[in-house]
Symmetry: C2
């Protein structure tokens, strides 16, 4: 039997683990939502329980797996496997923590810890929408915005390991909208889930009509799901938000196209549930900007692996050459 790969997706909301065959087949997975806000050691212990449960259910031991790959929702030093910082979203805060070593203490196996967007990008490149393309930029459009950069088959991580933070790219320096990082007018301040309350507030102030009836406190924490529901119900404000977010995402992809000239973009993340209107408008904005500067076709594709991309990509880290 080919040895299995264990992948863990350590996000701000979700902690998920899975066992995968080297061909990308996910055999089993386990997902929990109770780790955010917990102490780092508690989170690691929770990961330990998940891995053990998966091994037990597949009737294998840690000797039967090739290793454990982890996709982490935050900055980290790739070479050391030490986390630097997370966005503190929903209390998820694992700072300056030797995550790789902590996992190695539980399991005598190879452990690789990487950024979650890198893992998702690798998954889409190997087994998903990006399969068969040379260089693929995976962009997650979600609560935050980030990228996994796969160049000629390899994850590109940069000096520290924090490459791909495309959400921090400034696209409108005079913007009134501010990102969690403190800068005005970065892509995340215009087109991420975290930006929704301020963008929606600006549209309400401009008098864009809406049939949504929310208390002020609800407007202040409006999320992608609420906008998607409003869009489905034909609400004008929600539609206007989706189109504006798509335009900024299109600008972001265009910028990345000029920089990377990749074969394909793969788009994932929660905002993709806004559906065809959103994706088509992103493609349209991209075309509007790129015009005759596109010399070979570039694909803009939705994620194929969706929620499982994190686990599959984390496991796939073990397939990369050392």
């Amino acid at each position: 039997m080919a040895r299995l790969l264990c992948g863990i997706d350590l996000g701000g909301t979700k902690l998920a683990g899975g066992l995968m065959r080297p061909d990308g087949t996910l055999l089993d997975k386990e997902v929990v939502f109770d780790h955010a806000g917990k102490d780092e050691q508690v989170v690691v212990h929770r990961m330990h329980d998940i891995v053990n449960a998966l091994l037990a259910r597949q009737h294998v031991t840690v000797e039967d797996i090739r290793g454990i790959g982890v996709g982490f929702a935050g900055h980290l030093r790739f070479r050391d496997g030490v986390t630097i910082t997370t966005s503190n979203f929903k209390g998820f805060k694992i700072k300056n923590f030797p995550l790789r070593r902590a996992i190695e203490e539980y399991f005598p196996t190879r452990v690789i810890v990487d950024n979650d967007a890198n893992a998702q990008g690798l998954a889409e490149y190997r087994f998903g929408a990006g399969a068969g393309y040379g260089s693929v930029i995976f962009v997650t459009l979600s609560t935050g915005i980030g990228a996994g950069i796969i160049l000629e088959g390899k994850v590109y991580r940069g000096m520290t390991g924090t490459a791909g933070e495309v959400g921090h790219m400034i696209v409108n320096p005079g913007s009134p909208f501010v990102c969690g990082c403190g800068n005005h007018g970065c892509l995340m301040a215009h087109a991420s889930g975290l930006a929704l309350p301020q963008v929606v507030a600006a549209k309400r102030k401009l008098g864009v009509p809406t049939r949504l009836r929310l208390a002020e406190a609800e407007w202040d924490r409006i999320d992608g799901k609420a906008i998607g529901d409003g869009l489905a119900a034909g609400d004008e404000l929600c539609r206007s938000v989706v189109l504006e977010f798509a335009d900024y995402a299109g600008i972001g992809l265009y910028n990345l196209f000029q920089i990377f000239n990749p074969d394909a973009f793969v788009l994932g993340g929660g905002l993709m549930s806004w559906g065809g209107l959103y994706l088509e408008r992103i493609r349209q904005k991209f075309q509007e900007l790129v015009r005759e500067m596109l010399f070979d076709p570039v694909r803009i594709l939705p994620s194929k692996l969706e929620q499982d991309a994190g686990i599959i990509g984390a496991a796939a880290l073990l397939l990369e050459e050392g």
Copy 2:
């Protein structure tokens, strides 16, 4: 004797060739300025004359060189060595032309044709300001703006070969300033030599004082040299242009930092002659944006090879592994 490398820098203004040792020592060079606006075959013939003159002066033949590398100021298909388009700056227009094959017809040797910013970046990485760093982004701030992306020692070119067109990155979608490509608010529309007339006109309209006394037709073609002279003479408008250009260059570098997390940036191009005020303001803007998101020091360095980077880099293309 180690075999020599021949490098040709084919720009819109300047056509330069040189012979280099594999250690980066430039033995001889020849520069002409009479090729722009000429027919493609005439330009290739001019390159032929330059190479022959260099060979004769060094008392060697084409058998004594390892090949000819060419850095071309425009888009091209790297694999085919066929040009796609140039900016038509000063009549320099070599479109859909099999440049590599045309040179091979004159010389029975290996020929590599690449974008000029890629060549310059490779030169700085191997023999210049970027030597010793892992991943280096070379950015040329000149009539246009472009980049040579050297990742872990290799030129990154993308699908077609047009990666690194960072000047087309949109940094201000609502901008009144337009690029030669037709888009509003790309980096080139705000911070390149080609943008000077429109940025200067806007400042004059705002009433920024100046002691420059130019005819309207001169204002309409004001260039980096005139701004540099004005800056040196203490002119307020020129100083204001230099600072604004530096701020946009700083935004561009910050965006590239978040995307690539490189070890170093190397800055070249004619606008760098604006000197310390310009470079320091670029660094300052970068710091202002990056703040606590910088986990390891990143260098922002001026080019070391300057005018010779193009020839040296073109020759250095022959040192890359096939």
